[in-house]
Symmetry: C2
Subunit: 418 residues, 2 copies
Amino acid sequence: MSVEEMIEKMAKGARHASRALRNRGRAEKDRALLRMGALLLEKEAIIRRENQKDLVKAKDLGLNTAMMDRLTLDPKTLRSMAEGLQEVASLPDPVGQVTGMWKRPNGMRVGRVRIPLGVIGFIYESRPNVTVDAAALCLKSGNAVILKGGAEAIHSNIILGRLLDEALEEADLPHEAVQVVPTTDRRAVEVLLRLEDHVDVIIPRGGEGLIRFVTEHSRIPVLKHYKGVCHVYVDQFADNDMAAEICYNAKVQRPGVCNAMETMLVHEKIAPDFLPPMVRRFQEAGVEIRGCPRTMELIPKAQPAVAQDWPAEFLDLILAVKIVADMDEALDHIERYGSKHTEAIVTKDHERAQRFLYEVDSSVVLVNASTRFNDGNQLGLGAEIGINTSKLHAFGPMGLEELTTQKFIVYGDGQTRA
Amino acid sequence: MSVEEMIEKMAKGARHASRALRNRGRAEKDRALLRMGALLLEKEAIIRRENQKDLVKAKDLGLNTAMMDRLTLDPKTLRSMAEGLQEVASLPDPVGQVTGMWKRPNGMRVGRVRIPLGVIGFIYESRPNVTVDAAALCLKSGNAVILKGGAEAIHSNIILGRLLDEALEEADLPHEAVQVVPTTDRRAVEVLLRLEDHVDVIIPRGGEGLIRFVTEHSRIPVLKHYKGVCHVYVDQFADNDMAAEICYNAKVQRPGVCNAMETMLVHEKIAPDFLPPMVRRFQEAGVEIRGCPRTMELIPKAQPAVAQDWPAEFLDLILAVKIVADMDEALDHIERYGSKHTEAIVTKDHERAQRFLYEVDSSVVLVNASTRFNDGNQLGLGAEIGINTSKLHAFGPMGLEELTTQKFIVYGDGQTRA
């Protein structure tokens, strides 16, 4: 069977399964999730044996330590994956939820009810635990999913797919509800992206290159974020200590993630007090500062920022710093260089807080809190499959509800249109 | 200026205007809408003079009467357009609506607030009144819009665009909030569809050819429906008279629209009683019946249906009729041939009504009411810019709320992530 035939067969199977899944109750879906969690622990030996094959190959290819870490399925990772499954099982089922119902003048009752999206194509890189996370969220929300992971995790993904299949079987759910693409052939992605009749949405997760490739080649709607160029604006009326804690947390706590701060904007009135000790603290943590000319006057030992630094997603211990004359300049800077991901203001001034919240056009806008809170779990969605920085369908972190859509249901008693 | 340069300039202007519009209050937006309504009546003479140019050209090109009718801006049409503007002005403003707010264990308050999508590219055919309708809905929901109408309405669209501009000016709103593409050059559409950095969503309205062209060429997310192949299923337990009224209304009241019935499915137990008088009534109204073999046994004078009739959107006084052995067969038929647009069941049986409502995967599913109710006004959304049959963002009729998205706002008091 060619790659084309294989992917099309999988997609048709997924479409078929999605119909069967559409109205399955929460009990069966949760049973599959919990059974999968148990299998991860029961089958530890075989999972690790398959994972070992990926690790050996990765070592041969010279992957760095961080990448090897992400690829490794050790007992701790497996336990945490099993806990993740239990957590998703414990969340409410969004499917079937009636979000509103009203009566029309002609007596018809019109309601909106949550339904699954249908078939999801999930395309991702390296970490094999994502295979299980994504499968769990799609299944719980009643969607069939086709999982296309990175070549470096192929053996791990295939064995996880087999165990997912076993769990589906035991819960009496269709096999094609969750399918792992069992090939490293890159054409598989291109084929998948063309199957608009069988796949309803594509969710890519990975580096900017992957996302661009998917967006450019897909005929199917894509939910994605390219990058997070997140800003914290330290206002003239900020509490100095609070601003320092928030900025430090936003940059240093986990610099390699999309909701870490990449540029700090500082009001000129607070800069002389705030900036020198803040920069000292950053430098002690190993953060490289790239400053605007006015920052350089206050911090002569910093690196001067260049034009490419302002739109950059460093994903590293690097921070661009700009002193602004007023809030307008901060808002203009964010409008120009931001990625609509996450922006925060630190201020004690109510009016400025409100203005920032409403004028900044980002998926999550915070007052006096770290950008690191842009995360489905942290914001209270229960879990997240990713963050969307395009405005269609869902803006920001996507949880179970965001993996559904709503249809209209109408109860009439013979109404016709005049 | 080349078409490329012109469209890009318009799109950049729209992006700029969308920032200015983002937080404009309801009062200014409504003022512009009401002023535009007044201008349509004040400037009737000049509008009709420009419209006449389009009509003369259309006659030369040999457009049929129906098309000429749709193109004509007579006093009655202008009055109804002005009333439409008043209606949109009277609707609540969705922007700024906080749809939920909750407190996290760490004390942060997290809320979701409706915001405009940003810049909308609206691509449509013939009827110039759509220019004003679409502009009104986009403006009211805080979006900037670029309107690309059909070549045959170019003079009408340009003059309407000029009046819209005058109304914006008087309400102190940016000119680029509503822009009519002032050319019939077909490349304009292709250029617009590539400007993913400046345009957030494309909404096409027109025939299947236009929709396919837009979907295939767009790098920007598209909200659209290809076609409405709508079904009414007359169940074994239907009230015979009610079923007849609903089916007649769904087919005959306005056969040329997307929510008209194209296929009638009839349970075999009710068919001998229901079908012969129903078909007589249809035939008296000039409806051509294309029947399955079992229908042909009951109605020998009907046309035998061929394979292409089942997925067909006739948009005409033609009806495919199929007798089914049970509800499963009806559901399978809809799953296979339906367009996810609108489906209705007529039944007195509660369990079957519920099963149909929840198993049919269409944007609007009705019990004992005509398919013709799939319409934003009829369902109570206040107005509609179109119907979406893809599941992302909004499924079914799209009103003002569906022209917005939601962002997260977070009120903290110094929270950082551990």
